[in-house]
Assembly symmetry: C2
Homo-oligomer: 202 residues x 2
């Protein structure tokens, strides 16, 4: 498992053949799930020999992990793109939550695996979820540390604050049934303002 945020950003140098393999693997996983996809099927879909594939990804598990890392990187990049030009930490926080929740809800592989192979994914998001939480926390806390407000408000611990938001977000992705108003982006925005911003003030 990837255990630090550095492993996710910046985008590593990836050759064109590796991209073809990762694209083919993602498409196979979406069509057939993880368990029922073999390395041979990925190679065939990519139009490559299995030896070529194995030179880049030594095992089935390594290929699965590489696809999941790429999807995670895209997830954080989407949030980053949405918030980096916003002027205040409060706005970045609120919009980051809006975009993060929307992106996670619409993430095709996440939705597919939670529905068809929860026994594979759930442990990495729960009982073995320490690394996933740490990566997301680090991403959010780094954003906060870079902001001018952080230097003005040393009362807030960026890691603790970020972890609370990460845990809530993960819970809402895993269990969407909720009494919180989170249906539209505007709902999500208002809920973030109502419940997260007070934590920045005290």
């Amino acid at each position: 498992m990837v255990t630090s945020f550095e492993a996710l950003l910046p985008e590593p140098q990836v050759d064109e053949v590796s991209v073809r393999i990762l694209d083919a693997a993602l498409a196979e996983y979406l069509d057939h799930g993880l368990r029922r996809t073999s390395v041979d099927e990925v190679a065939r879909r990519a139009g490559l020999g299995r030896a070529t594939l194995y030179r880049r990804f030594a095992s089935r598990d390594e290929l699965v992990q590489a696809v999941l890392v790429r999807e995670s990187r895209r997830f954080f990049a989407a949030i980053n793109d949405a918030v980096e030009s916003l002027p205040t930490i409060a706005e970045r926080l609120v919009e980051g939550f809006v975009v993060g929740l929307r992106t996670a809800r619409e993430q095709p592989l996440l939705g597919r695996l939670l529905q068809s192979e929860p026994e594979f994914l759930l442990p990495f998001l729960t009982i073995h979820g320490g690394p996933a939480i740490a990566i997301a926390r680090q991403f959010m806390a780094d954003q906060y540390r870079r902001s001018p407000e952080y230097r003005a408000n040393t009362e807030v611990d960026p890691d603790e604050f970020a972890e609370i938001l990460v845990r809530l977000s993960m819970s809402l992705v895993l269990t969407p049934q909720t009494c919180l108003p989170l249906e539209t982006d505007d709902d999500v925005r208002a809920t973030a303002r109502r419940y997260f911003l007070p934590l920045l003030k005290s």
Copy 2:
């Protein structure tokens, strides 16, 4: 599955034979897990015939559910006992979190099943976790609604507030690895004061 808090409280009338069966089932589950425990073994441990057991619990699944409901009821009763005499909602909230987290961490059956049979328990606490969240939310929101502070502060939505705390608590039980100070009861108390009480004020 139980889907409302009323199903958990008050304690139903339970005859002495049912109690013996539930005690025996709990002991078997702790010793051998759910999957490897048969109804026959529970009956033997209780010193009863299997016909007697089946008159009270029509199936293996019904017996499992009855044990889980009883453990859940005990969990909420422990929190209730710890907080009911406290004078303010803030104190009840903080102590409820302290006792709830400690009780969940020390809950033998929860710990056993999360370790040995996560594939059984995790779905009911995540992708099918709506009812579990709703029950805990209702328990906490009812406590809040009965408090004098509620009538003085109609800005706070008890259900929304409770759901945020329930989701965070569940996340911390499922994934204990955290940067939040939660080691001792005093740590938990301070963290609850630091991060939950501000939500009551705005």
